[in-house]
């Protein structure tokens, strides 16, 4: 590969507290050679002028579902990576709720090989915390980690058994693996599909109280004080949860928190008359909850924004609300929808980018999310102002279940580089 220089670009890299207009020089190996306003040039290098655009580290999405194996009709490595790159995401943490579940080493080998062949994006596979995600028996954390598993998650399932959870934490602490919990008390969420309150009452749907989330967070953080391990909550959705988190953080307990971009941008009223594409887990809650989550990011109580990309075919969504599948796609619109929070003055740009790049990379302990000299040139280049309208049929995912169909957004990815190569541009 020839040396490349990206010129006249505004570089925002929270990992080195950089926000300046300058150049990025990429060497033959696809690494960052120099960056910033003092960055040099070279005559032989290929020049790309990016005047008026912004370069940030390629996004790290900590929660996405890839349909392989078992659900290829919903998404596969090729379509997922196309969607990701079109959205400026260069590193994806993939969920293990495939068929079969990724809970043993032979599955890991398969997924890594398959991903390497089919996807043009950095994949970091998760394995399940418990076998078959049944919440009974922990998986082989040590062996799985040695094969390249980045973290452990039962995705949309929660370890209900407190004894097992304490053992998982205890065991995990010794071998330094990341445990990613979905916080939901099953007894409290039985048959429910949206937030409890007026909207649920009007629609005649069984509502779920945010206590179901809070109670698991409280339990886990109590256990965590006894068994400190690398613990992360995938997605929180309510003000009540944030209060618990705040209290525990001030008590010195160490853990990290994620939030889905959907919970930051939408609330329960958007469900309207049974829009099943907005049936999500955790559910969309009140406007007050949404605003408190934004506040949580401001105060560093929430560290990561994820897409919670869940491709679902039309068939499983075109059902009565209670029967419809849960989740929406979002990896391609993750950055643009996040930028909405900048444009409507909810959050500073630097904070948003931090939650999408260096913060998740640090939690995962991976060498991504930064444009420091010597790191891989995984770069997302976007136009902060460009207006566009989300059209499901134009999205690259195999499934088109976006929660933000027809939403008018401002800010769009122009170009994505992976190890110095332009892998997407429009």
């Amino acid at each position: 590969m020839k040396e490349k220089i990206l010129t006249n670009v505004r570089i925002i890299d929270p990992s080195q507290k950089m926000d300046e207009i300058g150049n990025i020089v990429i060497d033959e190996k696809g690494k960052i050679k120099s960056i910033g306003k003092k960055s040099g040039t070279s005559k032989s290098a290929e020049k790309i002028d990016l005047k008026g655009l912004i370069a940030i580290p390629g996004l790290v999405d900590m929660k996405a579902f890839v349909g392989e194996p078992g659900f290829e009709y919903k998404e596969n490595f090729r379509t997922l990576s196309q969607a990701a790159l079109a959205g400026g995401v260069t590193s994806i943490v993939t969920m293990p709720n495939t068929k079969p579940v990724i809970d043993n080493v032979s599955m890991v080998d398969f997924i890594i090989r398959r991903g390497r062949d089919k996807a043009k994006v950095n994949l970091f596979p998760c394995a399940s915390i418990t076998r078959q995600m049944e919440g009974n028996q922990m998986t082989e954390f040590g062996l799985l980690k040695a094969r390249g598993i980045i973290g452990f998650s039962d995705v949309n399932k929660t370890i209900q058994n407190s004894e097992l959870m304490s053992r998982i934490m205890n065991y995990a602490s010794d071998i330094d693996v990341l445990i990613m919990q979905h916080a939901e008390d099953y007894e409290l969420t039985k048959n429910s599909c949206i937030n409890q309150g007026e909207v649920a009452t009007r629609l005649g749907l069984q509502g779920v109280s945010d206590i179901a989330e809070k109670i698991i967070i409280e339990r886990d953080l109590s256990l965590l004080s006894e068994f400190p391990c690398r613990y992360h909550i995938n997605q929180i959705s309510s003000k009540n949860s944030l209060n618990v988190i705040k209290k525990n953080k001030s008590n010195g307990i160490k853990f990290s928190i994620g939030v889905s971009i959907n919970n930051l941008s939408l609330n329960q009223n958007d469900i309207g008359e049974f829009r099943t594409f907005l049936k999500l887990s955790p559910p969309l809650r009140s406007e007050e909850d949404r605003l408190s989550l934004i506040e949580g990011i401001k105060n560093d109580l929430i560290n990561v924004i994820v897409s919670d990309h869940i491709p679902e075919d039309e068939e499983s969504k075109r059902l009565p609300f209670a029967q419809a599948a849960t989740g929406s796609i979002g990896i391609e619109t993750l950055l643009s929808l996040s930028l909405e929070l900048y444009h409507n003055e909810s959050l500073p740009l630097e904070k948003i980018i931090k939650c999408l790049t260096i913060n998740p990379a640090k939690i995962l302990k991976i060498d991504k999310g930064s444009l420091k000299e010597g790191s891989d040139a995984d770069i997302c280049i976007f136009d902060l102002e460009k207006p566009w309208v989300v059209k499901a049929e134009e999205l690259k995912s195999k499934s088109k279940n976006t929660a933000i169909e027809n939403r008018k957004l401002q800010g769009k990815v122009k170009m994505t580089l992976l190890q110095g190569e332009v892998v997407y541009s429009n």
């Binding site: 749907l205 109280s209 075109r318 059902l319 009565p320 609300f321």
Partner: protein
């Protein structure tokens, strides 16, 4: 009736009757006026009209029902429609057929009206997006049961002359009740004051935002009420441990002659049926023709459904 003047609001609106929530005051009044004209007809000896002659009405019932189903059946026949009733049970679902598939199949037979009862809230809305005939909601999950509310309104108007200014108590399992929801919307819309009374475990969150006052004490909730609507307590609620026992429920929330005295002297009693005698209502009270409107509700139900079928079928 407040306005005997013929109002014609429905013509200009969507052709489905999915819920009271989607109805305007004018539309509701138009249905009630129309229904009133059918009461006499139904009491007469010749009950057949031909306004729906040549039209096909399919009653699609995914949940068991006696009175609603037979009421829609009769209503359609009295208007001259060809009526087909399909009791779906869970059979179609067991075979893996989705609601949409069923809808498409029926749609291919060119019906003019589909009357649907479904256990899932929102099912009629979904159906209405997929077929090109009129969809009438005969009860969906715990969301709405519009024709029940309309027949309740007609029954009240028939006895009290007007709904505006009345105080109406709805008592029982509000949480799971579509009848309660539709009645809350309609009675509010027609100018009544609505109280809901239920144990806390059967009271949905956010109910106060629907424009009602909520009570857990029958005495307070019934105070000054003109109409007392009792709801059926579904026995399966006991298993879910919403309540300690039937006995305790009856003690505090069952309507007895003594408790009825908390309401106005001339208060009338309603129940959408089927009744659990001795659970939510005293058996003698239920049969007391001086207070109970239960039979009248069933009778006027046919008139209301005839009105809905006539007005919505285009």
């Amino acid at each position: 009736m407040a306005t005997e003047k013929k109002v014609t609001a429905i013509k200009n609106t969507p052709k489905h009757l999915l819920g009271i929530q989607n109805l305007s005051v004018l539309e509701a009044k138009e249905i009630l006026t129309e229904a009133k004209s059918f009461i006499k007809l139904n009491r007469g000896s010749s009950k057949k009209l031909d306004v729906l002659r040549g039209k096909t009405q399919i009653n699609l019932f995914f949940e068991p029902s006696t009175r609603t189903q037979s009421s829609f059946d009769l209503a359609g026949k009295r208007l001259g429609a060809d009526v087909m009733t399909m009791n779906m049970g869970n059979s179609a679902l067991k075979k893996g057929e989705t609601l949409i598939d069923t809808a498409m199949t029926l749609n291919a037979m060119h019906p003019d009206i589909i009357v649907i009862r479904h256990q899932d809230s929102g099912a009629p809305n979904l159906l209405s997006q997929k077929v090109n005939c009129t969809v009438i909601n005969a009860g969906d999950g715990r969301r709405e049961h519009p024709t029940q509310a309309l027949l309740d309104a007609l029954t009240i108007i028939n006895r009290k002359g007007n709904i505006e200014g009345l105080k109406i108590a709805i008592c029982g399992d509000i949480l799971h009740s579509r009848v309660a929801r539709s009645n809350i919307y309609l009675m509010n819309m027609l100018g009544a004051e609505v109280n809901v009374i239920a144990p806390k475990t059967l009271m949905p969150k956010g109910i106060d935002n629907l424009g009602v006052k909520s009570f857990t004490d029958m005495k307070k909730g019934l105070d000054g009420c003109d109409i007392v609507m009792m709801l059926r307590l579904q026995n399966e609620r006991m298993k879910g441990s919403f309540l300690p026992s039937k006995r305790e429920y009856y003690e505090f929330f069952g309507l007895t002659p003594e408790k009825l005295k908390f309401a106005k002297k001339d208060a009338l009693l309603m129940h959408p049926g089927p009744m659990n005698r001795g659970v939510e209502i005293d058996t003698k009270l239920a049969d007391d023709i001086n207070v109970s409107l239960v039979k009248e509700q069933v009778e006027l139900g046919v008139a209301v459904r005839m009105a809905c079928l006539k007005l919505y079928c285009k």
